[in-house]
Structures are given as structure tokens and as C-alpha cells.
């Protein structure tokens, strides 16, 4: 039987690949082609840092074995698309090849932000997003790099710092805000991560902005200059001030673009049979009051792919994200968040509970609305259960109920210190109430870690 239609997915990241998988699950008969210039096979870009540091080989970052694609008849094309002819429904690739489609899914991801800093094109200056960026970074830091400067204190910045430290390169960290990731994290959490960054011997400079990157005369970076006029010598500069949708090759076409590719809640662009998902998509209207118009995390890409596949399969499915969550790891400190915990809040509207362990590496924050119902939590240095908070936030539990049941949310390995009971004690004390404090098991008390 000849295929009913040909769906071409541009980009083999988590969004594009998830869409392809669900298309195949739902329809045995369509032809599916995934095009990527970056790599033939799908890999997890969040793991690129581990390849650099020797925790893994590149092949370990590929979630499916190579035979998987053939078995599921998902055709993989490794090529860069240079031009899209939307009228003719045709793609022109760098290799000269043209590919026709019936429906096109744009899942082209992001590229690192460069804000027009003088010297941003010098050798030794780069961002970190793609496999090619990783290869470039390996080349750029192969030899002769003693000092590096990282511009922008976010998730990729701290990953890059950790990577450079593996090569014994001294790192200076320029952060525009008053604390690390302070535009996302509340003050205490930001401070905690800041302390931990310094514990790892990184030179963290807050309230510091980049003025220019200085060349050594041969086109290579030699130093950076900050807005306050200080010159910091370095042989490598990491630009990690966020990412933005990767759509340069679509500019000047009939596709509606803003910062990203504009889509509705069915991921439809202004053109028929053309969709956009993942980092590169920009919703015309927020999908939810607590969500951004551009979503750039791993699992949102996955959810976009899952959802769009249904629409393409003939079941129009508007995108409805559930309760927000995220996680990250700052050097050795793990971080998870569920629901809404903004960097700052209006104290008349929101009540705040914060507990920090004496080690200064473990903390828990819960925000509740004026009626005492949970808005969200941050947890650092220990693990909490997604399912628990998804339910609690969805069902608008009171803060007290959350804390009372917190032992059910514990996701730390066995025998770890019973942080939950410490949190419960502090909550009871602060609110002058009696709470049943969770009791550790016999084995936990016998051989488990103490607080």
C-alpha cells in the first residue's frame, strides 16, 4: 500500500522525534521523514556536558538504538535545510537534494543568544546548544586555555563552568543580576547556589555585565571588558545568556514570525499544513496563564510533539499544559520545582515558608495564596515526588495538608537524612500548630543518615 501522506519533520530533537514516534504509533500508513543537519540520530542535548566531561560517550546520549528508526519506518535524513518553498511544499537541502512534503512540522529548536557584543565572533567565543557547539568547545579548549569567562548565569552557564573545571580551566562567571539565576530563583536559593559555585572555586561576579570581548590581534579572544571597565584576561568565552528560536532560514518567507514561529493552540502556523513545535514555536496566546509564549524546556518539547501528533492524525487536540514543573542540577546540588514559585512575590498576596538545612545545601520553599492554598514548591539538595505535587497543586491543597503528608512526597534514596521531618517541625513551630511528624523506620533510625 502506498503511504497516505508524507509528513516531514524538520529537526530531530525531543519535540520532532516525539511527534514522529506518536505519528507512527497512531498510523501505520503515513510516510515519516525526519531531517536534521546536526546528527543523524536523536540524542539528548541535555547530556552534551557529560560527553565533554567523560561521564558518557556521545552514543550514550542516544535514547534509542539505531535499528529503532528503520524498524518503525521513520526515515532519517542528515542534511541542513536551506530553503522552504511553502507554495510548492518543497524543501531544498544543503546537499542539493529536494524533499516534498504533504505536511511540514518545524521543530528547529534554539540557538544561543548573542546580543551584538563587540568581539562576539572572535575565535574562542561560543555558546553551547548543539552537537557542533560541543565539538567546537572541545576544539577551542584543547590546549592553551588557562582562563575562561562565562557570560550569563543560567543553566547552560553553570554547565559550561563545570565542563571547563574538568579541564582545570579557571572560570570567571559574569552575572547581570544580583545573584545566580536571580530572575528565576528567590533570593535564598540564588544565594545557596552562589555559595556552592564559590565552593567549587569559580569566581562568581554578580551585578556584572559584559561590555566587549577583546581580540589578541589575530582574531582570537584575549580578554573581556566589563561595563565597569575591568579587563579580565581569558582564552575562552562562553556566551550563555539564554537561547532564542532558531529560524533565520525562514525569514523573508510567507511564514508569520515574531521571536519564534507563531502558532495557535493546535501548533498551526499561518500556513496550511505547516506546524511548529518545541523551542522554535511561539504561541500567539499563552497556553495557560502561568506559561510563557515560548517554552524552552525538555519536557515541553516532548508534550508539544505528543499533542501535535494527535492533531495531524485527525484528532484536533489543543495544547493544554498541566501544572508547571522543572528540575536542574547546579554542580552537586539538585533542584526541582513544582507549581509556581517566582523569583519575587507580593507578600500581601502570597505566604512564604522556607526551610534550610544547616549544611546550607538543602532547602525547601513553599508558597501559598492568601487562602493558604499551595501555589508551588522549590526543593534543593533532596528529591520530591512529582505525582504528589501535581495532585496537591491541582486539587489546591492547603499548605498544612501538604506538609502533613510530606513524607509521601519523599523521593530520596533509602537511608538518606530525614529532611521531611525537619521541614514538618519548622512548619509546625512557625505556624504554632501541632503536626504529626513522620517517624523514620527502624532501619532508617538504626543505620540511616542523621539530619
Amino acid at each position: 500500500m502506498s503511504p497516505s501522506k508524507h509528513i516531514v519533520i524538520l529537526g530531530n530533537g525531543i519535540a520532532g522525534i516525539t511527534c514522529a514516534r506518536h505519528l507512527r504509533k497512531g498510523d501505520d500508513n503515513i510516510q515519516i521523514t525526519v531531517i536534521s543537519g546536526e546528527s543523524k540520530y536523536f540524542f539528548s542535548r541535555t547530556a552534551l556536558m557529560y560527553v565533554y566531561m567523560g561521564h558518557m560517550k556521545f552514543e550514550h546520549t542516544q535514547p534509542y538504538e539505531n535499528w529503532f528508526w528503520e524498524k518503525n519506518r521513520i526515515d532519517l535524513v542528515q542534511d541542513w535545510v536551506e530553503k522552504v518553498d511553502f507554495k510548492e511544499k518543497k524543501l531544498r537541502c544543503q546537499s542539493g537534494k529536494t524533499i516534498n512534503y504533504d505536511q511540514l512540522v518545524l521543530a528547529t529548536g534554539s540557538k544561543p543568544n548573542k546580543f551584538g557584543w563587540p568581539g562576539q565572533g572572535l575565535k574562542g567565543v561560543q555558546g553551547l546548544y548543539s552537537k557542533q557547539d560541543l565539538e567546537l568547545m572541545e576544539k577551542n579548549t584543547e590546549s592553551g586555555v588557562k582562563k575562561a569567562v562565562i557570560v550569563g548565569g543560567g543553566l547552560i552557564g553553570i554547565e559550561m563552568a563545570e565542563m571547563l573545571a574538568y579541564k582545570n580551566i579557571e572560570v570567571t562567571f559574569l552575572v547581570r543580576e544580583s545573584g545566580f539565576w536571580r530572575n528565576i530563583l528567590p533570593e535564598e536559593e540564588s544565594e545557596m547556589v552562589g555559595r556552592h559555585i564559590r565552593e567549587h572555586h569559580f569566581d562568581l561576579r554578580v551585578n556584572t555585565e559584559l561590555e566587549e570581548i577583546i581580540s589578541d590581534g589575530s582574531g582570537k579572544v584575549k580578554a573581556v571588558k566589563t561595563k565597569s571597565g575591568e579587563e579580565i584576561p581569558c582564552q575562552f568565552v562562553g556566551l550563555t545568556a539564554g537561547v532564542s528560536p532558531n529560524l533565520d532560514f525562514l525569514k523573508g518567507t510567507e511564514l508569520d514570525l515574531d521571536r519564534g514561529i507563531l502558532v495557535d493552540h493546535l501548533f498551526q502556523t499561518n500556513l496550511r499544513d505547516v506546524f511548529a513545535i518545541g523551542d522554535c514555536a511561539q504561541f500567539r496566546e499563552k497556553p495557560d496563564k502561568n506559561r510563557n509564549i515560548i517554552e524552552q524546556v525538555w519536557y515541553t518539547g516532548r508534550m508539544h510533539g505528543e499533542t501535535l501528533a494527535q492533531t495531524i492524525l485527525g484528532k484536533p487536540t489543543p495544547y493544554k499544559p498541566g501544572v508547571w514543573f522543572n528540575s536542574a542540577k547546579f554542580l552537586d546540588i539538585e533542584y526541582q520545582t513544582y507549581g509556581q514559585v517566582p523569583a519575587d512575590w507580593d507578600e500581601s498576596q502570597v505566604s512564604n515558608f522556607y526551610w534550610e538545612h544547616s549544611s546550607g545545601k538543602v532547602c525547601f520553599r513553599m508558597l501559598c495564596d492568601s487562602d493558604g492554598r499551595i501555589l508551588g514548591v522549590n526543593n534543593f539538595g533532596f528529591r520530591l515526588r512529582h505525582e504528589f505535587f501535581d495532585k496537591a497543586i491541582r486539587e489546591q491543597w492547603s499548605g498544612q495538608k501538604v506538609i502533613q503528608n510530606l513524607d509521601k512526597a519523599n523521593f530520596d534514596p533509602e537511608f538518606f537524612a530525614p529532611y521531611i521531618s525537619a521541614i514538618q517541625r519548622k512548619y509546625a513551630e512557625e505556624n504554632n500548630i501541632t503536626l504529626k511528624i513522620s517517624k523514620p523506620s527502624f532501619f532508617q533510625r538504626l543505620i540511616g543518615a542523621k539530619l
Binding site: I14, H22, S44, T46, A47, Y50, M53, G54, H55, M56, K57, H60, T61, Q62, P63, E65, Y166, H196, E199, H200, W298, Y299, R302, M303, E306, T307, Q310, T317, P318, Y319, K320, P321, G322, V323, F325, S327, A328, K329, L331, D332, E334, Q336, R383, L384, R385, H386, E387, D390, F411, D412, P413, E414, F415, F416, A417, I447, G448, A449
Partner: protein, 514 residues
């Protein structure tokens, strides 16, 4: 700190060099008295006659001595075999006891000195190297550079280490006569512990235990801040030292049968062999207790503990093979093959070995009760085949020698019949599972990479499915290396334990099986 580690490395290599050189020391002189002392009554006359030309000649190397000794016995045997005179053939291998008794070497005069210079220095060096590890660094995952390492990524150092281990095991199992110097070195220690003369197995037990202890220290350093890993490591160190090494020796000292209370059939494949049953049944109350204890472990202990805690209670907390894999083998855990193909091979192989062990044991028991009238010869053949192919070649040579090539759990994953039995219980009737944390997985692959059993953990984690696999030994490293807090080893109700059609939390647009 670096200097201490450097000293440690130097001491270790010096000790290893000494250990390698010591077998070549001394001369061999055999006498009639030696032959009479070390052969069975039925062979004494013949052996005396066969070896007479060698008497009172000094052999300057083990090679010439053992070669001639074996040659003389072999010549005699092949004549008999040619005549199909099977009863007269000397099946016993006397080369080890004869070589041991014929040796005169400085090791015999200064055993403690040689023990210190070889094993002592390696242990000391290992401790010097391991104790300061990661000093001054914050607690956390210490996997930097593993795939850039010559040792841990099948580089030349790994190849060399693997080859050395394989050579050691080949000599230990099949040519122990060449290591009598090393056995003499531990003679006084054996006399203290059990009152008996040392065998190659005592030497092996000592090295094995010390290796677990020294590399256990490395685990404490590497997994600082991870209580689960630390307790588990302490547990295998304890069970190896007390149960596998000291208690059996002390039992012998007290004139009781040698018995390892934590070894379980069918890993302990000779448990039902007639000579062992005879020993236990003729040793009074304690012998009976040992017999019943061993059987209770098989029929009650394994199912019960595995039901409550999963097979980890044994494989990564108690077992000696597991103990070595989790300490000495830890640097190689990332080398296990994660492909679907290897999983298929694994299931055929491990269950094949289990079937073989069960059939062999059933025949053994049938024989025992029928006074060896039922397939007696076949049973003997099976015993020697199993002992050679599975007990020695697979469990020993491949099981440990292949650490640097195929990871640290080759035996446990592909061969151990007890692991197969524990695994069936774990898969079908247990409260143990590894749970995944909603939608937090980012498919990075750390969990799969560091799974020593070759389980593709990520495949489950990224679709929100509980990991219920018969091979999982519950080492907990997948959970430790996860950067997003996704994996947790849990014991819980059986209901919902196996969720083959999971739904990831977070997307309200559509409820999908990932």
C-alpha cells in the same frame, strides 16, 4: 594529598611486582617420603615407582619440575587408557601437593616478610591511594573522565589489567602447582586461623577479601554523601570478611565442617554433592544445622527476602561475587552492554545455566538415594563439566577477568544460576521496583550508562514506567547518578508495581501511553 596517592600507587605496583615474581623463587626436590605423604593409599605404590627417577634431583624451576612430574604420570595414564584399563588410571592431580612439599625457597623461611612485601604492600598502597581520594571536593557524583581513562574505557591499561586477572585465574584453577611459593607465604596465617596447611583456595580467599576491603574504602570515598551506597558497601565488606573468610576457617579450627553460611545453592553448586552431604551428616548437630540452614535459605530465605526487598538483599548486599563486583568492579560498571540483543542473550544464557544446575543437582540427589546406581557416571561427568565450564571458566575467568572488557557483572548477569532464581522471584512476586519521578526525565542516559547489569534504565524512565527487571541487583547507582532526581528504589505494594502502559504526568492535552 597527591603525594600520598603517588606513594600509594608506587607501593601498590611494587607489591604487585613482588607478587608476580615470587612464584619463580626456590628449587624443587622430591623424595619418596614426599610422595608417600601426599598421595592416596591406592596410588602410593605406583606414584613411588613412577617418580623414582626424579628423587633427590634438584630442579631449579617450577617449569622443569612440574613438566617432568606430569609427564611421568601422563605417560603411565595414556598407556592404561590405550588399553581401556580405566580403573587403574590415576585421575587425581597430585602436582600441587607434590610441588608444594618439594619446594625449598626463601619464602618458607620468611613467609611473613614475603607476605608483607607482596600482598601487604598492595593493600597498603591501595589504602594510601584510596583514602585521600576526592579530598577537599564537595560531595557529589565523581564520574569525571571515566570515558577518557585508559583503565576504565577499554584502553591499554584496562586490557593489561584484564589479561593479568585472566592469567591469575587460569593458574589458580588449572595450574596451581605453579603458585606454591605464594601458598607457602600464607601458610602461617592459615595455621593460625584454621590450624590447617594453606591451599591455593586459602590464598585466593585472603586476596579476595582484602581486595573487597581496600576497594570498599574507595567506594566510601567515591559515594560520600550517599548513605545507601555506603551502607551497602559496608555490608558486602562485612559478609565477605566474616562469613566467607573468617568463620569457615575458624569452624575448621574447631573441628567443624568448613561452611559459608551465606552461600546458597545453586551458586554453591556442590552443596548437594555426596561428599559434602556426608561431611555435614557425619558432623553431629552442627552439621545437621548447616544442612537444614542451607536448605532453608533456598526454599524460604530466597523467596521471602526477595519478596520484601528484591534480589538486592543478596546480590548487592551479601553475595561474595556481588561484593567483588561492587567494589573492585565498580570502576568498570559502565562497560556493560545495554543493547536489546545482549538482553536476549542474557536470558538464554542465565536460564540455561540454571537448568543445567538443577538437572545436575537432581541427578546427584537421585544418585545419592539410589546408592549411585542411577546414571552414576553421567553424574560424575556432569560434575566435572559444570565445575570446569561454569564454576571455574565462567564464574572465575570470565566473571572477574572480563571486568575491564565487559563490565563488572558478566557472571551475575549472564551466568549465575542463583541470580536467575532470585530474578524470577523479583520479576513475578516481589514488592521491589525502581520508580520514576513523573515527567522529570530528560533522557540524558546517565542511568543506563552506569547500570552494571546492562539494563536500559532510561528506556523506562523517559516513559514513566516502573523498572521491574529480573536482572536488577538494586545497586542504586542509576538513582545516584540521575541529575534530575528521577529514580528511586522502593519496596511497596504489588498493586500497580508493573505498569506497562504508563502515562507521563504534565500534559493535560491528551493522555497517552508514552
Amino acid at each position: 594529598m597527591k603525594y600520598i596517592q603517588l606513594i600509594g600507587l608506587t607501593l601498590f605496583l611494587t607489591g604487585l611486582l613482588a607478587f608476580t615474581v615470587i612464584p619463580f623463587l626456590g628449587e624443587y626436590t622430591i623424595s619418596e617420603a614426599i610422595v608417600l605423604d601426599n598421595t592416596k593409599d591406592i596410588h602410593q605404590e605406583k606414584m613411588k615407582e613412577l617418580l623414582e627417577p626424579m628423587y633427590d634431583k634438584e630442579y631449579s624451576s617450577s617449569f622443569s619440575f612440574i613438566r617432568e612430574l606430569n609427564q611421568r604420570v601422563d605417560d603411565y595414564n595414556s598407556e592404561l587408557k590405550a588399553e581401556s584399563n580405566w580403573d587403574q588410571v590415576i585421575w587425581d592431580d597430585y602436582s600441587f601437593p607434590l610441588a608444594k612439599a618439594s619446594l625449598s625457597s626463601p619464602v618458607q623461611n620468611h613467609p611473613w616478610l614475603f607476605l608483607f612485601v607482596s600482598i601487604g604492600l598492595t593493600v597498603l598502597g591501595g589504602l594510601f591511594y584510596n583514602f585521600p581520594k576526592f579530598k577537599g571536593e564537595p560531595e557529589g557524583i565523581k564520574n569525571n573522565g571515566i570515558f577518557h581513562s585508559k583503565m576504565k574505557n577499554r584502553g591499554w591499561l584496562g586490557m593489561l589489567t584484564g589479561s593479568y586477572l585472566i592469567l591469575f585465574y587460569v593458574i589458580l584453577y588449572w595450574f596451581p602447582a605453579y603458585m606454591v611459593n605464594l601458598v607457602w607465604m600464607v601458610e602461617p596465617l592459615s595455621l593460625i586461623l584454621s590450624g590447617n596447611s594453606a591451599s591455593q583456595w586459602f590464598l585466593y580467599g585472603l586476596i579476595y577479601t582484602l581486595a573487597i576491603l581496600v576497594m570498599g574504602v574507595r567506594m566510601f570515598r567515591k559515594y560520600r554523601g550517599n548513605r545507601y551506597q555506603q551502607i551497602r558497601t559496608a555490608s558486602v565488606m562485612f559478609f565477605q570478611t566474616a562469613f566467607a573468610f573468617l568463620i569457615p576457617e575458624i569452624l575448621v579450627l574447631l573441628n567443624k565442617p568448613y561452611f559459608d553460611f551465606k552461600n546458597i545453592w545453586p551458586l554453591d553448586y556442590s552443596f548437594f554433592y555426596d561428599y559434602r552431604i556426608e561431611t555435614l551428616t557425619s558432623s553431629g548437630a552442627i552439621g545437621m544445622f548447616m544442612l537444614i540452614w542451607g536448605i532453608l535459605l533456598i526454599v524460604v530465605g530466597v523467596p521471602l527476602f526477595t519478596y520484601f526487598y528484591g534480589k538486592r538483599w543478596y546480590c548487592s548486599w551479601v553475595c561474595g561475587c556481588g561484593g567483588l563486583a561492587e567494589t573492585v568492579g565498580d570502576p568498570y560498571r559502565q562497560l556493560s552492554d545495554k543493547s536489546l540483543k545482549s538482553w536476549k542473550i542474557e536470558r538464554y544464557l542465565i536460564h540455561g545455566v540454571l537448568v543445567l544446575a538443577v538437572v545436575m543437582t537432581a541427578l546427584t540427589i537421585a544418585n545419592y538415594f539410589s546408592a549411585f546406581s542411577f546414571l552414576g557416571n553421567v553424574t560424575n561427568q556432569l560434575h566435572s563439566f559444570y565445575g570446569f565450564a561454569i564454576g571455574s571458566a565462567f564464574a572465575g575467568v570470565v566473571g572477574t577477568g572480563f571486568y575491564p572488557f565487559m563490565g563488572n557483572r558478566v557472571w551475575c548477569r549472564f551466568g549465575c544460576p542463583l541470580a536467575a532464581y532470585l530474578g524470577m522471584v523479583q520479576r513475578f512476586k516481589s514488592r521491589f521496583r525502581i520508580t520514576t519521578n513523573g515527567g522529570q526525565c530528560i533522557s540524558c542516559g546517565n542511568c543506563s550508562t552506569y547500570c552494571e547489569m546492562g539494563i536500559d534504565v532510561r528506556w523506562y524512565a523517559q516513559r514513566g514506567q516502573n523498572i521491574v527487571r529480573s536482572s536488577c541487583v538494586g545497586c542504586g547507582v542509576c538513582s545516584a547518578v540521575c541529575p534530575r532526581g528521577v529514580l528511586k528504589l522502593e519496596n511497596g505494594p504489588e498493586e500497580g508495581r508493573i505498569n506497562e502502559m504508563p502515562i507521563l504526568i504534565g500534559n493535560d492535552s491528551v493522555k497517552l501511553n508514552a
